[in-house]
Symmetry: C2
Subunit: 217 residues, 2 copies
DNA sequence: GGATAATTTGACCGATTGGTAAACATTACA
DNA sequence: TGTAATGTTTACCAATCGGTCAAATTATCC
């Protein structure tokens, strides 16, 4: 007698690992492109190259697939913010945070869109993650920024809105990619646009956060 | 004999105007919350308070409703950018553009999310609008900004990425509202966050774009 | 090689999807 | 007030949805 679903075995088969990987890869494709409600199991099955019941053998429901995908991607997604270092020099820390976030927008646009879709539609599946781990991490980093502002290393500003603005400007290039391409036209839609964006954003944030020079020169 | 659908009459009835208004209002609610694929006619019908076939009497298909909604909202949505004035003072123009965009994020979050959903999912229904009217408008305003930079009124920078960064930072407060609220927590989630955002963004952009003082003081 | 467990699939289910047909109700207007 | 046009609803359709089931196939291990 075969106990239903892969979840029952504690040890995971080679096949299980491969297939689950395959499925989550396909799920990322589909969920990031259509959001949870707009995606169908059949679509994912087709992209994954297997039958629908076969998908459901590894993940009991559509929600379970989505959940697994979120869990796997969330940690990686917060890496850049986690790397944000209190000991470092404010200018170089902010500069490299922007760089890293832009690289992620370039290299992992599907992951970015997965979360964007989710949050945009009210975050029905990740509310806990937002109010829990995410908020805690942001609170911690905001404290660092606040200290920098207090000691005059950067201009006095609201650290939360600073973080929001770095998130939004960088992720924009993944989430709104088609709009960026449409506006830039063919001539500037190559991969060079990420370099242009990096140059602009670094200039904007470094310039905008530079503390007023007390000596006036 | 009743010729099917409202579209046939050139003159529109009072009832037609009222009902179409009602429907589009409901459609904005639903489409902005779930995206096109994730929304159903039944949902819209329920929000609009009428039967599904009645909706379909006024708009033949789900796509037609979406199309009509986009058309109605797009013009308004671009108002702030259109108001961007070449003759004005760069600092006050950028400042008030940010203000206006933030006000729209606050007062018309559904409209913002409608477009965000659409663009995020590949803009299958508004590609032409992006490559046509939007691009033209942005090109025109970018030329203004480029002239400002050339004459030293603002720092030398890529005008397109400047516009993108204003779009993304301001719309972030509408599109990612739940995330912003989750991170800020209860204490800072009141309407005051828009004032905080405005203060921060103005400081960031004005500071980041201020031309280097040639006299060093 | 055979038993056993793990994997895969085709057929199918009830619910929901976008949309239609036609009868019915209401409005506008002469 | 009558009647033709407009507006609304009930009942329904085929397609697709998320998900199940049992049978068939394949991998594993002695």
């Amino acid at each position: 007698m075969t106990i239903p679903r892969a979840a029952k075995t504690l040890r995971r088969t080679r096949i299980q690992e491969e297939k689950e990987e395959q499925i989550l890869e396909a799920a990322l494709d589909v969920f990031s492109a259509s959001g949870f409600r707009g995606s169908t199991i059949d679509q994912i099955a087709e992209v994954a190259g297997m039958s629908k019941p076969n998908l459901l053998y590894y993940f009991r429901t559509k929600e379970a697939m989505h959940r697994a995908l979120i869990d796997r991607v969330l940690y990686t997604w917060l890496e850049p913010l986690r790397a944000f270092d209190a000991e470092g020099n404010p200018e170089t820390e902010i500069r490299s945070y922007i760089r890293r976030k832009l690289e992620m927008a370039r290299d992992f646009p599907r992951e970015s869109r997965l979360f964007a879709n989710e949050v945009l539609q009210g975050a029905p599946h990740i509310e806990d993650e937002l109010k829990g781990p995410l908020k805690e991490l942001v609170d911690e980093k905001a404290e660092v920024i606040r200290a920098w502002a207090k000691s005059g290393k950067i201009v006095k500003c609201d650290p939360y809105h600073l973080i929001f603005s770095i998130w939004s400007t960088t992720q924009h290039y993944a989430d709104f990619d088609v709009q960026v391409r449409a506006v830039l036209g063919q001539e500037h839609s190559g991969e060079g646009r990420f370099e242009d964006a990096a140059r602009f954003l670094e200039q904007l944030f470094i310039g905008g956060l530079r503390p007023p020079d007390p000596l006036g020169g």
